[in-house]
């Protein structure tokens, strides 16, 4: 097989059952070398369970997975050598310094001492942690902890980087900075799998993603293709009151709709036009290309257009189409249940 296109993560018919719950219910997907693959879904969808199986922390009930060419159940040691893992919360030893944390990761991955020193310096600089290198990680801010956690996962130059909710709980500034960092690491050739319930994160970062809900992959593809498949862009025109709209509101809207249908004949089909009080919504296949023509025609008829909004289908619309729910409703932080 050509190593350049070979699948680095192969998941086939993966099932994990806890009692009555099928946390992961027949999940299959592949991630190719160099991809940044996203796992998008609400909390409790089975993302973390899948990731724990791929990181050899959990054994599947049935089905299998190969990571970096090795079976996660039969050869966990080989997988661990090639894997970098960053968990949902930054998992650091509060009583070690940043430098000690990275050096220990190097030791545990059997890196030669000189390489450990060099790589530690490099990563501390890269993550902007040089000044904090000698401070205990317990004193770090949330963003610093995430960056050190990521550096720890990268210490041994893993072939595959698995990130569980990498920006959960970060402020917007730290989130953007971390996104840039992840893009850079991916650009250098590291294959990445990340889970998220933030649509904009999946949209911005992932070259391909799978939407997972209730333990199943409901759809998989490139973000643009998924959004395009959902349907047309939406254009909302703010329109001043038309002079003849003195009758009941319902009939005024009907009249406006008819007016627009006639005006836009040949550009936008009539069923894609919806009139509301003060605005008209059009469903247009490629809005950014169509808008100039639309405006020219409407302008020519003396309509008082006071504003225009355009929106493309979001991954939320994709999620909605496949699951019948909004991801946002599900994404609210669930309380952490501590077991005793």
């Amino acid at each position: 097989m050509d190593p350049a296109t070979q699948a680095v993560i192969e998941v086939s018919d993966l099932v994990k059952v806890y009692g009555e719950t099928r946390a992961v219910d027949d999940v299959s997907f592949e991630v190719d070398r160099g991809e940044l693959f996203g796992f998008l879904g609400p909390n409790g969808a089975g993302k973390t369970t899948t990731i724990r199986i791929l990181s050899t922390l959990l054994k599947p009930t049935s089905g299998g997975a190969r990571v970096a060419g090795h079976d996660v159940v039969a050869e966990p040691g080989e997988v661990r050598k090639r894997l970098g893992l960053a968990m949902q919360t930054a998992t650091l030893d509060a009583f070690s310094t940043g430098r000690e944390t990275l050096e220990l990761a190097g030791r545990l991955h059997r890196m030669p001492p000189r390489e450990i020193k060099r790589r530690t310096d490099e990563l501390l600089q890269l993550m902007g942690l040089e000044a904090a290198a000698k401070k205990l990680t317990g004193t770090y801010s949330g963003g610093m902890k995430r960056r050190l956690d990521l550096a720890t996962a990268l210490m041994h130059r893993p072939e595959v980087l698995i990130l569980d909710e990498p920006t959960e709980g970060l402020d917007p500034q730290s989130r953007t900075a971390l996104w840039e960092e992840l893009e850079r690491i991916n650009a250098e050739g590291t294959t990445m799998l990340l889970t998220t319930h933030y649509m904009e994160e999946a949209d911005r970062l992932c070259s391909r993603l799978a939407i997972i809900d209730e333990g199943r992959v409901v759809v998989e593809g490139r973000p643009e293709a998924l959004k395009a498949a959902v349907g047309a862009d939406t254009v909302v025109l703010q329109v001043g009151r038309s002079p003849d709209a003195d009758g009941a509101q319902g009939s005024a809207e009907d009249a406006r709709k008819t007016e627009f249908c006639t005006l836009l004949d040949g550009m936008v089909p009539c069923e894609a036009v919806a009139a509301h009080d003060g605005s008209v919504t059009l469903a247009v296949a490629d809005a950014s290309a169509a808008i100039p023509g639309l405006l020219r025609r409407l302008d020519g008829h003396g309509l008082d257009i006071t504003g225009l909004q355009m929106s493309r289908p979001s991954l939320d619309d994709v999620f909605l189409q496949y699951t019948g729910r909004h991801i946002r409703e599900e994404a609210a932080d669930q309380p952490i249940i501590m077991g005793f």
Binding site: S55, L57, T91, D93, L104, A105, L108, R110, F340
Partner: protein, 258 residues
């Protein structure tokens, strides 16, 4: 053989980390030293004249009391040993270690092996303070080395109580409470009075209490000289306790993390 080297390597680096974790919190050392030190200071004054009873072979209650408090210090050093692992189990740090290509049981040995040194150091501090207050060390440097080795061994053996409780209950509170429940075991020993002065049922407990063997061996080294029978009995008691509790710890660890 290569696996054994790898296990030792991982244990060393993980052990260095847990040692840092212990000594970087000053409260750890202070709270371990505080209790036996207070008992030493207060009881040696409060019951100063108890040594006039014929069962005592010494005329200084402080000298009698010190060995028990040395042992108590090594007991406290490991009394909450399972706590750190439990915190790291919860935080996910244990998972991070499990996702690296290390020998799985080095996570446990990295916690346990440093306890040998932590228990020995805590015992040494108590021994030093006792000597400043007037206790003796009849066997000199040789005795000191033996006391440190015995204390380390005792520490590893008894740390199993905390590990088993922590790993099985996965509850910091339950593990802490169990450590407190172990206190009577330490007190029903010859730490405060010789066996002859105890009520009958206590003597029965005391006869089989491994803590007593440990105290008597150290008391011999501090007050009399090398009593190899007492030392042998202490080593045997520590080994028996160690085999039982460390085996239990291994099983509990495998259930939790393997």
């Amino acid at each position: 053989m290569r696996e054994l080297t790898a296990f030792a390597y991982d244990t060393y680096w993980l052990g260095l980390r847990t040692t840092r974790r212990f000594f970087r919190v000053p409260a750890n050392v202070i709270s371990i030293i505080f209790f036996p030190l207070i008992q030493l200071l207060v009881f040696s004054q409060l019951y100063k004249d108890i040594v006039q009873l014929p069962a005592f072979a010494t005329d200084s209650y402080l000298a009698y009391l010190a060995p028990g408090q040395v042992v108590f210090a090594s007991f406290l050093a490991v009394g909450w040993a399972g706590y750190g692992m439990l915190v790291e189990y919860r935080s996910g740090y244990l998972d991070r270690l499990r996702s690296t290509p290390i020998a799985r049981f080095s996570i446990l040995s990295g916690e346990m092996v440093p306890l040998f040194f932590e228990a020995a150091i805590m015992a040494a501090i108590l021994l030093g303070v006792s000597m400043l207050l007037g206790a003796t060390l009849a066997t000199g440097v040789g005795g000191l080395v033996l006391i440190l080795l015995l204390s380390g061994l005792f520490g590893i053996a008894f740390s199993g109580i905390s590990f088993i409780a922590a790993l099985l209950t996965k509850s910091e509170q339950a593990a802490s409470a169990l450590s407190l429940l172990m206190f009577p075991v330490v007190f029903i020993s010859t730490a405060f009075v010789p066996a002859e002065l105890m009520p009958g049922w206590m003597q029965a407990v005391n006869d089989w209490n491994p803590v007593t063997f440990q105290i008597e061996a150290i008391r011999g080294l501090m007050t009399v000289g090398y009593d190899w029978t007492a030392i042998g009995q202490a080593v045997l008691a520590d080994v028996v306790v160690g085999v039982v509790l460390v085996s239990g710890t291994l099983l509990a660890f495998r259930r939790l993390a393997a």
